[in-house]
């Protein structure tokens, strides 16, 4: 009786379970290739087991430490500025009295968020090219043209800045929503006590946003090893590999260009193993501090 009643529920789940089983659990099982001398013709089951040799190989690759450092540096910078800039923007926007102006700014800032890195990358390369508008603008101040995209000094800055630029609208709107939900009585009371706008922002608005700031911080912790694969892939070039190559781009080139599937999968597993700890930790902290739950 009970089973019959629940049968439709099981049936509904079949497509989702199948897709997840094949394309999410399949690759998880496929990770065994990191311990094999993997040969595509033999597959996961018949390739020869070689223990930790792939790991030894990749950890001794000359670029590996640099790649690890690049990944952490780029993503930590993206998290810090990706949080601070929208926070500042939200606080400043909150001081604007005219609603139409507020809406106009909000809409404009949101634009890059909706576009792909294929499009935005094209725009970046156009803007920062030798004959592009950025160099034209700089030449007005007597600065010689700079090859931004092929400069190890500039490239990472551009990567971080353009990522902040793309994501700004999203976090800003979350912050604005948090500001709106702060009790208006608090501001009135502060007014009576003679607190100016600056003090109000410092002592009411910021503390009122603390929980959402902590939440966004903790949730971004899980992505520390994702430095923005598709952005870097579209913008980088061999000249800036030294500073811009991150784990994902390294795995991509090693695995799919050099066809070294198993060593590439070994780096992938290394990354997944650290990420699973970070993601679990971030969800745990988000739950502890902000009562955030996914399910």
């Amino acid at each position: 009786m009970k089973l019959k009643k629940e049968l439709p529920l099981h049936l509904m789940l079949i497509p989702g379970v199948l897709v997840t089983l094949i394309y999410a659990y399949g690759p998880m099982f496929g990770i065994v290739m990191a311990f094999q001398k993997f040969q595509p013709a033999l597959g996961f089951l018949k390739s020869k087991w070689i223990g930790l040799k792939n790991f030894e190989y990749v950890f001794h690759l000359p670029d590996f430490n640099q790649v690890l450092w690049n990944t952490t540096f780029i993503s930590v910078m993206k998290i810090v500025f990706g949080l601070a800039v929208p926070l500042l923007m939200a606080l400043l926007l909150n001081e604007v009295a005219k609603n139409w102006f507020k809406r106009m700014i909000q809409t404009s800032i949101f634009l890059p968020f909706f576009l792909s890195w294929a499009v935005l990358g094209g725009i970046m390369i156009e803007l920062f090219s030798l004959k592009g508008p950025v160099n034209a603008l700089l030449s007005l101040f007597g600065v010689d043209p700079i090859m931004f995209m092929a400069s190890n000094n500039w490239f990472v800055t551009i990567i971080i800045a353009s990522d902040v630029w793309k994501g700004m609208g999203y976090n800003m709107i979350i912050f604005l929503a948090a500001i709106v939900s702060i009790n208006a009585n608090l501001y009135e009371a502060a007014e009576v006590d003679g607190a100016g706008r600056w003090k109000q922002a410092l002592h009411i608005t910021l503390p009122g946003m603390a929980s959402i700031i902590i939440l966004i911080c903790t949730l971004s912790l899980g992505g520390v090893l994702n430095a923005g694969f598709d952005q870097i892939l579209i913008l980088y070039n061999p000249i800036v590999y030294e500073k811009a190559d991150v784990i994902d781009t390294f795995v991509y080139r090693l695995g799919l260009f050099d066809q070294q599937y198993a060593p590439a999968a070994a780096i992938g597993l290394f990354k997944s193993a650290i990420s699973v700890v970070l993601v679990s930790l971030s969800y745990y902290l988000a739950y502890r501090f902000s009562n955030y739950r996914i399910f």
Partner: protein, 295 residues
């Protein structure tokens, strides 16, 4: 809004603040205006880099050329196919997965096992290389299904949907049960009609996601003929793919600057989203808050 005394300091702040916000707003919009201006300029002006925010030597040549460019039109066709099929399939799987999981333990005893089955994939993944091998082994390479099936179930979207389903009053479901309705008709006739706002939100997320993704095209399509639009655009940007340029193109390219052509294509790749996103904004904002802190 409260009433504030306009002190001199406050006035100065307002001026500085509005100027700053206006500059940031320009930074988000001006790149797109520049892109459009270059695409509408003459080759000579574009190659010389003399175009700023207004076309120099206005011409529609680049767009006229694109109208007959088979690569561009073909990839647009692939994208349209992918957006329609992909969004439909994604949404169907979201409904079918979210509905059973939104039940209580009493209604669906096995719920918790399924929840774990899906939740694990949010913490751990196989990584790029094993996923690539699985897609290859399941025979999807070089077909549009490679862009749709592996990501057919977004667990995250299913979670958003199930949280919404949970908010539907139990009375509605019980009334339908008394009338003899089964789970299938409760899903289609009771749940979905009252969930239109969240369906719109998740549907738009999915649709924009399909329009924007480009890396899966690079990964799974052997032949550039099967590239979706954004993948094709990414090859223009990185110019890693020389085989995209045909002989007929070369003769025309001599007359038509590569720059005007490239900017025209990138602009068209961004245009549909630029046209609709101001209206979609409010749905996105709603969707973002659905997933955040629960009381």
């Amino acid at each position: 809004m409260h009433f504030y005394k306009q002190t001199a300091g406050r006035k100065l702040f307002n001026v500085v603040n509005l100027s700053f916000l206006t500059i940031v707003t320009f930074m988000c919009v001006v790149p797109f205006i520049h892109l459009l201006a270059v695409s509408l300029s003459s080759n000579a002006a574009a190659s010389a880099g003399s175009v700023k925010l207004w076309p120099v030597g206005f011409t529609l040549e680049a767009y006229g050329f694109l109208g007959q460019k088979p690569e561009f039109l073909r990839s647009l066709g692939v994208t349209l196919q992918r957006v329609v099929l992909g969004t439909a399939i994604n949404m169907l799987l979201v409904f079918l997965t979210a509905y059973p999981l939104s039940k209580t333990h009493e209604q669906f005893r096995y719920r918790v096992y399924y929840v774990w089955f899906f939740a694990i994939t949010m913490f751990f993944g196989g990584g790029l290389i094993p996923t690539y091998i699985v897609v290859k082994e399941t025979g999807l390479m070089n077909s549009i299904w490679a862009l749709i099936i592996p990501g057919a179930l977004s667990v995250w979207n299913a979670v958003l949907m199930l949280n919404f389903f949970r908010g539907i009053p139990r009375d509605m479901e019980e009334a339908a049960l008394i009338d003899g309705a089964g789970h299938w008709s409760i899903l289609w006739k009771v749940y979905l009609p009252v969930s239109l706002p969240s369906i719109a939100t998740i549907g738009l997320f999915t649709l924009v996601g399909h329009w924007n993704s480009w890396f899966d095209g690079i990964l799974y399509m052997n032949s550039p003929d099967n590239y979706p639009l954004q993948t094709y655009l990414s090859t223009l940007v990185t110019s890693i793919n020389i085989k995209m340029i045909t002989v007929e193109d070369l003769s025309t390219l001599q007359n038509l600057s590569e720059r005007t052509l490239r900017t025209a294509q990138i602009f068209l790749g961004a245009l549909p989203i630029m046209l609709v996103y101001p209206f979609l904004q409010k749905y996105f904002i709603k969707g973002m808050t659905v997933g955040s802190v629960k009381e």
